[in-house]
């Protein structure tokens, strides 16, 4: 009996020292896989420029997962920064506050553009949001009636599109890009084709009509891709008449395989996105725990380093990797807000 008591005491002691041995030495970041490449670039450059701080640890995992980790509480074993490809939701902010993360600082780092691209050898496409809604919406307007989507080919959607079976590879529902796709493509197309009015006329409330617009057909013509853009590219490789949704950076790295389509007559580029001309773009963020500033070494310096022109300005490595830079005055305002300690 004595032996087993001693043994269990030893095991418990080991656990205790394990916990005590840990103190936050490094910045810990998690969240959006869209922001991940920029965060890693900055983390690497930050460690190189500041040899006295340890390199931050950056995890992907998605905006929602990152914010969930972020809102677990304050302390050594929680993350310091959550990357997000969408603004934090009120419900998440409440969860944060309930767990003791009362002060959250929002940093907007730039923009991300979503492009529509097909195989390089195919024809050029010029899309309107309405085309996409008619191609992949669950219910569309046909001769003034709401019907289950009857379009089988792109040429059914618009006569001058090629005679291709509709095969659209769109971001899956847990993907951060899904929201901007729903909002700027599906809803815009829904409203442009008057299907939205028809949903309202059929007795749906405003919110429900929007949800009806977001519904994507389930007959296999629209495929949700929950993984990375590499998977979408592989799908297009095997089905040359497929059309996929990509990030601007991914498209730019694979210009030899993909042909990009215009949306509402505007070709996606760093320029058209930062000027707000290209319709399918979204801001990118990260969120900082104010309580950790000054506790975790280098956290404040990291945030300021991130916001430097050398990192996210027009000629920065993050931009080379696909980030669309924000205009200069917006960047300066974000930095000023951070330094003034503005919280959500």
């Amino acid at each position: 009996m004595k032996f087993s008591t001693a043994a269990s005491a030893f095991v418990l002691g080991l656990c205790a020292t394990g916990t005590a041995a840990f103190a936050a030495e490094q910045i810990h970041i998690a969240g959006s896989s869209t922001v991940l490449p920029y965060a890693t670039i900055v983390a690497e450059a930050f460690a190189e420029a500041n040899p006295n701080f340890k390199a931050p640890i950056v995890e992907g995992g998605g905006s929602s997962a990152g914010l969930k980790e972020f809102c677990k509480g304050v302390g050594d074993d929680t993350i310091d920064i959550a990357d997000a490809s969408r603004p934090i939701k009120d419900s998440e902010l409440e969860a944060c506050k309930a767990a003791g993360v009362t002060e959250v600082q929002e940093i907007r780092i730039g923009y991300d553009g979503i492009v529509f691209a097909s195989d390089i050898k195919g024809p050029d496409f010029a899309f309107e949001p309405a085309d996409w809604f008619n191609a992949i919406g669950a219910q569309v307007l046909k001769d003034g009636q709401l019907v289950d989507n009857p379009n089988a080919k792109w040429s059914d959607v618009k006569a001058d599109f090629p005679d291709w079976e509709i095969a659209a590879y769109i971001p899956g529902e847990k993907h951060g890009t899904r929201e901007v796709f729903e909002l700027n493509v599906l809803l815009a197309g829904c409203k442009a084709t008057k299907a939205y009015d028809a949903f309202i006329a059929s007795g749906l409330a405003k919110g429900d009509a929007e949800k009806a617009c977001y519904k994507v057909r389930k007959d296999g013509k629209a495929v949700d891709i929950d993984g990375e853009y590499n998977e979408t590219l592989a799908r297009i490789d095997s089905n040359k008449t497929g059309i996929g949704v990509f990030g601007l950076a991914f498209y730019e790295n694979n210009q030899d395989k993909l042909k990009v389509a215009t949306m509402s007559g505007i070709a996606p580029s760093v320029e058209t996105i930062s000027k707000g001309e290209y319709p399918v773009s979204r801001p990118l963020f990260f969120y900082v725990k104010k309580a950790h500033l000054g506790v975790v070494p280098g956290l404040k310096e990291y945030v300021e380093f991130f916001l430097a022109d050398q990192m996210i300005g027009p000629r920065s490595p993050a931009v080379a990797k696909g980030l669309v830079p924000a205009p200069k005055d917006e960047r300066q305002k974000v930095l000023a807000d951070f330094q003034a300690g503005k919280t959500l």
Binding site: S33, T40, E44, K54, D77, I79, A249, D256
Partner: protein, 445 residues
């Protein structure tokens, strides 16, 4: 043997008996045919399996072998003390502090000299700088900090070419596609040819692949941190699961009473072995990180989670090995007056050792390749610095492969396959060790 015995005497027998035996002969033929068919199926099955294996290996190796070599650009660098240590302080601290761009100046100067560029032509300089890894300046800086005696000398330094140049040299970015779609432009190709002519460009063994940590630049990225992380995890798994698993199974097999409770435990252990590993990841997140407040991304937590996944495997293998020891060994031990415990530890366990070791090593090899539970506890992370203890953040080989597989750059594609080759080499080494140990401990009775 049987064929000869049954056919030869048949000629000497009477008619009725011949008929009877020939009937048996017909049956024999059919049975031989069945056996031949079965053997053919067996050969076929093995051939198909080997075909798949060869296809897998050849696709991975053909994609990955290029990553073991890397393009270097060697240039003579003038370690000018006026630039490196303008205030005369040549200590490592002084090198690591101060203006970071002075090392870029050193590189630009030696590039201009090597390529004989016009010093006033900034565009040409930036085009040439595009060829070098963006990590060159920090690399040069830490090189000087490690050896301040370099200051004031002129030395040949090997710089990494960027991943795109590397892919171009190896042919995975082709020159025959239109320039607008190519990542390496014509002006870069001209510079590359110039460097080749001067002999400054060469392929060398990619040591960084094994020693570097994570990097956003493919040419600087390596599996070093992942290797150390995996090693720490294997250590934790070995230290925890071998004693726990072996002790648990000895107790269950040799000492525990056989009743409903031990049956229940046995059924549960078999069930646990079949639980998807992601479930253990969620458990680890809830118990080790959220409840016990162990650090995220630490290899200790990874090891603990993997211990949970390997324990059932080890217990099942150990129990099977103990069961395989003939009861006569135990009876003899007890018969000459040994206690139960002496019998088990002096006679049964040594005989079961080959099976125990095989089970343990195969369990460890399984754990080495396990990815899903690590995703939940934050080991799929960008970690630059080596972990010094198991409490420090680290990644693991399979998660590193997963992360590289999602990168868009071409140079990461070959590195993904190279990392898979490294992982496979480790698995092969571990499984060979299992075979060697089994041979070494094998006893006959």
């Amino acid at each position: 043997m049987t064929e000869a015995a049954s056919t030869v005497p048949a000629s000497r027998l009477g008619g009725a008996e011949v008929r009877k035996i020939s009937k048996i002969d017909i049956g024999l033929k059919r049975r031989y045919a069945a056996e031949r068919r079965f053997r053919t199926y067996g050969v076929l099955a093995v051939t198909i399996a080997i075909c798949f294996l060869v296809a897998l290996f050849s696709s991975i190796v053909s994609r990955g072998y290029t990553a073991f070599q890397q393009t270097r650009i060697s240039m003579i660098v003038d370690f000018d003390p006026n630039i490196i240590a303008p205030d005369g302080d040549r200590s490592a601290d002084a090198v690591m502090s101060g203006n970071a761009f002075r090392f870029d100046d050193l590189i630009a100067a030696s590039l201009q000299k090597t390529l004989e560029l016009d010093p006033n032509d900034e565009d040409a300089l930036y085009d040439a700088l595009d060829l070098l890894s963006k990590g060159s300046a920090p690399m040069l800086r830490s090189m000087i900090a490690n050896d301040p005696s370099l200051i004031g000398t002129k030395r040949n330094v090997d710089f990494y070419a960027t991943g795109d140049v590397d892919s171009f040299i190896k042919g995975s970015i082709r020159a025959d596609i239109p320039e607008s779609q190519r990542l390496i432009k014509d002006k870069h190709i001209a510079l590359i040819e110039k460097l080749e002519n001067e002999g400054a460009l060469r392929l060398a063994f990619n040591t960084g692949l094994f020693t570097n940590g994570a990097s956003t630049r493919p040419e600087m990225a390596g599996v070093g941190v992942a290797l150390v992380g995996s090693l720490y995890m294997m250590l934790v798994v070995l230290v925890l699961s071998l004693p726990l698993g072996v002790a648990g199974s000895i107790y269950l097999e040799e000492f525990a009473p056989k009743n409903r409770w031990t049956d229940l435990i046995e059924v549960n252990i078999n069930n646990l072995a079949a639980v998807p590993s992601i479930v253990y990841g969620l458990l680890g997140l809830a118990v080790f990180i959220n409840f016990a407040h162990l650090p995220r991304s630490a290899s200790l937590v990874g090891g603990l989670v993997l211990t949970l996944t390997t324990l059932p495997t080890i217990i099942i293998a150990t129990r099977a090995a103990l069961k395989a020891v003939p009861p006569s060994i135990r009876e003899a031990g007890l018969g000459v007056g040994a206690s139960k415990m002496q019998t088990v530890f002096h006679h049964v366990l040594p005989l079961a050792m080959p099976g125990v070791l095989t089970g343990t090593i195969i369990g460890l090899a399984h754990a080495l390749g396990e990815t899903a539970p690590l995703l939940m506890i934050g080991m799929k992370a960008f970690v630059v610095e080596y972990p010094t203890t198991p409490f420090d953040p680290a990644t693991a080989l399979p998660t590193q492969i997963y992360m590289w597989a999602t990168e868009p750059e071409r140079a990461f594609t070959e590195r993904t396959s190279a990392a898979i080759i490294v992982l496979l080499a480790f698995l092969l080494a571990m499984n060979s060790l299992a075979i060697i140990l089994r041979r070494a401990f094998e006893r006959r009775w």
